[in-house]
């Protein structure tokens, strides 16, 4: 029996039969592809999906180019490639609009009615070309199935040829591909990358064709700014049917993570229900973080009737509605803050309370989960705005188990443009005595999740900034060892008794919060000159005993605060000795002081031992 359907090529067994899928022969020939034949205003997106769906994942396969036989076709893989790359290279920007905004009027309303899930809609604008009414030229839009599609009108202005020149001539082209490969790798790690799956969205297939074997560059954390978000279809691990997720797209921006991290040294201040400002020590807002849907706030303010009701009903779409977005100018000249504001300071709420926790709650609603933990952000960081992602995911060069630190005044004073500020220090509980000395340590005994930090140096190789806090602490311990320093009677300061009782280190109060240890100016000053260094070198035998003494401490259970405090002293003492010796050899013999003369209390159970040289004791006696 003959099947009564166009394109039938097999006989039916019965007079009724099932057709489970679209027949391939029903697809118009390339020369007959016709966007306006799709029965939806979203016809351009449908056509882009259609075109991308024709791509082959076979390595080396010649990809179809329907545009070569159909000059009316505005949606092509080549244009898709150009816009993806342009977005990654900041040649194209992504702007999310709410179709229910009054400005979108009945056309926006119609689009929303047809696809309510696409209410928050991504517009792609060229970063250079001017468009209508002082805006940048609108060149495309986002879509869950194909990721993006192209404006059917810009070809007349020779836009695509010009964009191709810009993209293919870009020196950053390979880095952009690597960044996209990084982004793809996140999906792979989460079991959400299946470009060959029969239900796979076409954007995934197209990105696979674009990237091929390009390897990740490992820079997604450090050198990418996330834009969006957009809704994207994925086939979840073990699933058959596509589902949609809200994801952010990567834009290459070297050093962005470092710049963002510095924002955590500015105090978060809630300005109104919808925003939190990060302010510098002079009270100037550096950036504003959006904490509520922008248009909902506008709707309420303007007193719209039906629109305001729609705009307010964004539960589950918070991220799409702009929550978590950074606004303002992060490059504004400002005074750098000293305190790290991730955590609360005494009675003053920090970033976690004012920003992170509300954003995690908003993200949970947007991602339709009960809660989102830090582990979720670590696992799938592209699902979260930079205001969550970069605050919670460790930098690529951070030590495993590193602890976030407050910066001291000395570090703050030495921050240099373009050099990432130190964010985390080695946990002395996890540091193994005898291994390499850390350059930055978290002082044990701190209260809260952010520790006081001691920084010997920071910044990348070639641009390292010398601070000297660890060797200055070691110098202070050296002076005590010599008998030239003593602990003040209240135990709060170590005084250089041999030099006008100058203060070497001690406890300080910053923003009404006590820090258990800060190396003070006199000690730092001493280790930035050659006098004390030469003097130490002149007492080589004592220096041997000093080093031997400290090299014998710090073993034991790293969980114990006392052990951590001892390790702090050991790291400081060894750092000082290395500095003093400046590469000169020194023997590992001589007497070792086994018992601390007294202790400097860092915190509960964390006591920094203070050793006195046996000869110093006898000299004194």
């Amino acid at each position: 029996m003959l099947q009564l359907i166009p394109g039938s090529d097999t006989a039916a067994q019965t007079d009724t039969f099932a057709i489970d899928q679209k027949k391939g022969t029903w697809t118009p020939a390339p020369q007959h592809l016709r966007t306006k034949s799709f029965p939806t205003p979203y016809a351009q997106a449908e056509m882009m999906s259609h075109v991308l769906g024709q791509l082959s994942l076979d390595p080396g396969a010649r990809q179809p180019e329907p545009e070569s036989v159909n000059d009316r076709l505005q949606q092509t893989f080549e244009r898709w490639r150009l816009v993806v790359m342009a977005l990654c290279l900041s040649e194209v920007t992504l702007e999310t609009v709410d179709l229910l905004r009054p400005e979108c009027d009945n056309f926006g309303r119609m689009l929303f009615d047809l696809r309510p899930e696409c209410r928050f809609f991504g517009l792609l604008r060229d970063a250079r070309r001017p468009g209508a009414e002082g805006r940048r030229l609108l060149v495309g839009a986002t879509d869950p199935e194909c990721l993006l599609w192209c404006s059917p009108r810009v070809a007349r202005s020779n836009y695509w040829a010009e964009l191709k020149t810009r993209i293919d001539a870009s020196a950053q082209r390979h880095e952009a591909l690597q960044l996209l490969a990084d982004w793809r790798a996140v999906f792979e790690r989460n079991g959400a990358w299946a470009p060959g799956h029969e239900q796979s969205p076409t954007w995934m297939k197209a990105l696979q064709v674009l990237l091929g074997d390009v390897q990740p560059g490992g820079n997604l954390r450090s050198d990418a700014r996330m834009v969006g978000p957009v809704r994207l279809a994925v086939v979840p691990r073990g699933g058959n049917d596509p589902t949609e997720v809200i994801v952010y797209l990567p834009v290459r921006e070297p050093g962005w993570a470092s710049r963002f991290s510095e924002l955590l040294f500015f105090q978060p201040v809630r300005r109104d229900a919808g925003t939190v400002d990060l302010v510098d020590p002079n009270g100037r807002a550096v950036v504003t973080l959006r904490m509520a849907p922008r248009d909902a706030a506008q709707g309420e303010a303007s007193g719209r009737s039906t629109m305001s009701a729609d705009a307010a009903s964004v539960a589950g779409f918070e991220l799409l509605a702009g929550v978590g977005r950074i606004e303002g100018n992060p490059n504004l000249a400002r005074s750098h803050g000293q305190a790290h504001w991730l955590e609360d300071h005494a009675a003053t709420p920090g970033y976690r309370s004012l920003v992170l926790n509300p954003l995690l709650a908003a993200a949970a609603r947007s991602h339709r989960r009960a809660t989102i933990a830090e582990g979720d952000v670590h696992a799938f960081p592209v699902l979260f705005p930079d205001t969550i992602r970069l605050a919670l995911t460790p930098a690529g060069d951070a030590l495993p188990g590193a602890v976030r630190i407050h910066m001291s005044r000395e570090v703050t004073a030495r921050l240099a443009p373009g050099v990432p500020a130190p964010q985390a220090g080695a946990s002395l509980g996890k540091w193994s005595p005898g291994t390499a000395l850390p350059k930055i340590v978290a002082v044990p005994g701190s209260t809260g999740a952010v520790a006081a930090g001691l920084v010997e140096s920071f910044g990348p190789e070639g641009r390292a900034v010398d601070v000297g806090e660890l060797r200055a602490l070691g110098f202070s311990l050296w002076l005590y060892f010599l008998g030239d320093a003593e602990l003040r009677s209240d135990g709060q300061r170590l005084l250089w008794t041999a030099d006008e009782a100058k203060e070497l280190f001690g406890k300080v109060i910053v923003h009404n919060a006590e820090r258990p240890l800060e190396v003070l100016k006199e000690a730092l000053s001493a280790v930035h000159g050659e006098v004390e260094r030469q003097r130490a070198r002149d007492r080589l035998a004592t220096l041997q005993r000093f080093r031997n003494t400290w090299r014998a401490v710090g073993d034991g259970d790293g969980e114990q605060p006392a052990v951590q405090a001892a390790r702090l002293g050991r790291v400081a003492a060894e750092t000082f000795a290395e500095w003093a010796l400046n590469g000169a050899a020194i023997g590992s013999f001589g007497f070792r002081q086994a018992t601390a003369a007294e202790h400097f209390t860092l915190g509960e159970g964390a006591r920094l031992p203070l050793y006195l040289d046996v000869f110093a004791r006898s000299d004194g006696a």
Binding site: M1, L2, Q3, L4, I5, P6, G7, S8, D9, A11, A12, T14, D15, T16, F17, A18, I19, D20, Q21, K23, T25, W26, T27, P28, H32, R34, T35, K36, S37, F38, P39, T40, P41, Y42, A43, Q44, E46, H50, P102, E103, C104, D105, N106, F107, G108, M110, L111, D113, L114, L123, G131, A132, E133, R135, L138, G140, S151, P152, R153, R156
Partner: protein
């Protein structure tokens, strides 16, 4: 009540098929139609609305609701028919203008300030095979013209959406319409779809904007959209169109000129979806819902005649062939009554006065009419009804090529069909059946009909319908 939502020209063809099949009781009543098309005055539309010019007081339309065709949008009251200006007026925000021009190219959406073709599609002049425009206009104005549909849909037991994926209007709005109807009625109510793919050939003189390639593009992209989005909203669906290597019986026919009806097997088969799709669907198992096709058997081209259609008649044979042969015989009887009209109106046939003469006389007297005059009115109503039966059987005859119906129907039907086939039919045969039918007068009518569903039909109309029901009962012995 079942609701048939017929969209566009394809939908009207299927609605016509449904109406015809209802007229011969091949489909079970009650069925109501809601017909949507931008052009309500075409020859096809007129044929549907008037049921081939047979609708009269004595012969109501067999498909309730088909007398009106609702435009998908209030085109007549629109201030602007230029597609662009429906959305972008002089006060439009630049963002809305940008959005519009992002979605629609210059050909569809026009250029700011331009007039004529450069201004884009003018829907006042048609959709120009542009489903993407049609879908937008429909969606933007659904709150007006379509509002009555949703109320009807909520009260329907089952809903059938019928149409085609060709052209502009139907292809443009069908998918959005199904989405809206599903939203209106909820997930539990069964909605089925029967859609025509390419089933006719355009004559070479058709206008510039629509050609075969255009139709095939609409079909291909419409199907792509259907399988991706719309299919999931339906409990089951049926797709029909001309195969690539058709046999003569199923090849595409030339589209009728001037938007008239194109007679073809395909709308009939699409109407069969009203029977087949619910049979095949377990509405409790949505995951198993499927899309179906039908086949043509070159060894048995009349298989649709043998299939069971309406199983709710008093006949032991539920096939379409049985209904067709009954309709042919009833027409034969009516022709004989007309030929011997004085015998009918004076009740001058054997046992005439003691049977129908008595009944008609009583009704006439109750209505203060002369029995003979009243009988003439009844005869006219019967002849009008016969015209409707002809409108159906002629169509079936064209589709199936005057098939031999000897094997269909109940014994009395077969016997009488044999008489007709042997050209031995004479008016006395008709009166014999008429008298025999009188014994069913009190019981016939279990099958509800359009007229009986009407409140207070005129006495002659009610009587004519009673006679026809009784005749059918006699034929089913």
């Amino acid at each position: 009540m079942d609701l048939v939502i017929a969209v566009g020209g394809g939908g009207q063809h299927i609605a016509l098929a449904v109406a015809r099949l209802l007229r011969v009781h091949a489909l079970a009543e009650p069925v109501t139609a809601f017909v949507i098309d931008a052009d309500g005055e075409s020859r096809l539309a007129s044929k549907l609305k008037s049921f081939g010019n047979t609708v009269s007081a004595g012969a109501p339309h067999p498909l309730d609701g088909a007398q009106a065709i609702v435009p998908p949008f209030a085109r007549d009251t629109m201030k602007e028919t230029a597609f662009r200006k429906i959305f972008i007026d002089d006060r439009a925000d630049p963002l809305e203008r940008e959005l519009f021009e992002l979605f629609y190219d210059e050909e569809s959406g026009g250029i700011e300030g331009a007039v004529g073709p450069a201004g884009g599609v003018d829907i006042g002049k048609g959709m120009f095979a542009n489903p993407s425009v049609g879908s937008a206009v429909f969606s933007a104005s659904k709150g007006g013209a379509m509002e009555p549909l949703f109320g009807i849909a909520r009260t329907a037991a089952r809903i059938f959406v019928v149409g085609s994926f060709l052209g502009g209007t139907g292809a443009g709005i069908t998918h959005q319409l199904i989405k809206l109807v599903r939203e209106a009625v909820g997930v539990a109510k069964p909605i089925y779809g029967a859609f025509l793919l390419r089933w006719f050939d355009l004559p070479p003189t058709t206008g510039q904007t629509v050609d075969t390639a255009t139709l095939l593009a609409s079909m291909g992209h419409g199907l792509e959209y259907f399988f991706k989005h719309t299919k999931l909203l339906l409990d089951a669906s049926l797709l029909l169109g001309v195969p690539d290597n058709p046999l003569p019986q199923v090849k595409a026919t030339a589209a009728a000129p001037d938007n008239d009806e194109t007679v073809s097997l395909y709308p009939l088969l699409a109407a069969y979806g009203l029977v087949m799709l619910p049979e095949k669907t377990d509405t409790q198992a949505r995951a198993a819902h499927r899309t179906y096709g039908l086949a043509h058997d070159e060894h048995d081209p009349a298989w649709p005649l043998r299939r069971a259609w309406n199983v709710h008649t008093t006949s032991k044979d539920p096939s379409l062939g049985a209904r067709m042969v009954e309709a042919l015989l009833v027409q034969e009887i009516y022709r004989s009554l007309r030929e011997k009209s004085s015998d009918f109106t004076d009740f001058g046939y054997e046992k005439g006065r003691s049977t129908w003469g008595s009944l008609l006389g009583n009704v006439a007297r109750a209505n203060h009419e002369n029995p003979t005059v009243f009988a003439r009115k009844v005869l006219n109503a019967l002849l009008n009804r016969g015209a409707q039966l002809w409108f159906t059987t002629a169509w079936l005859g064209t589709i199936f090529g005057e098939p031999d119906l000897s094997m269909f129907g109940d014994p009395r039907t077969r016997q009488l069909y044999s008489v007709v086939k042997q050209r031995r039919w004479a008016p006395p045969e008709a009166f014999r059946v008429l008298v025999d039918a009188f014994q069913h007068e009190g019981t016939a009518g279990a099958e509800r009909t359009r007229t009986s569903a009407n409140k207070d039909p005129d006495p002659d109309v009610a009587t004519a319908e009673k006679i026809e029901r009784s005749l059918l009962a006699a034929l089913r012995t």
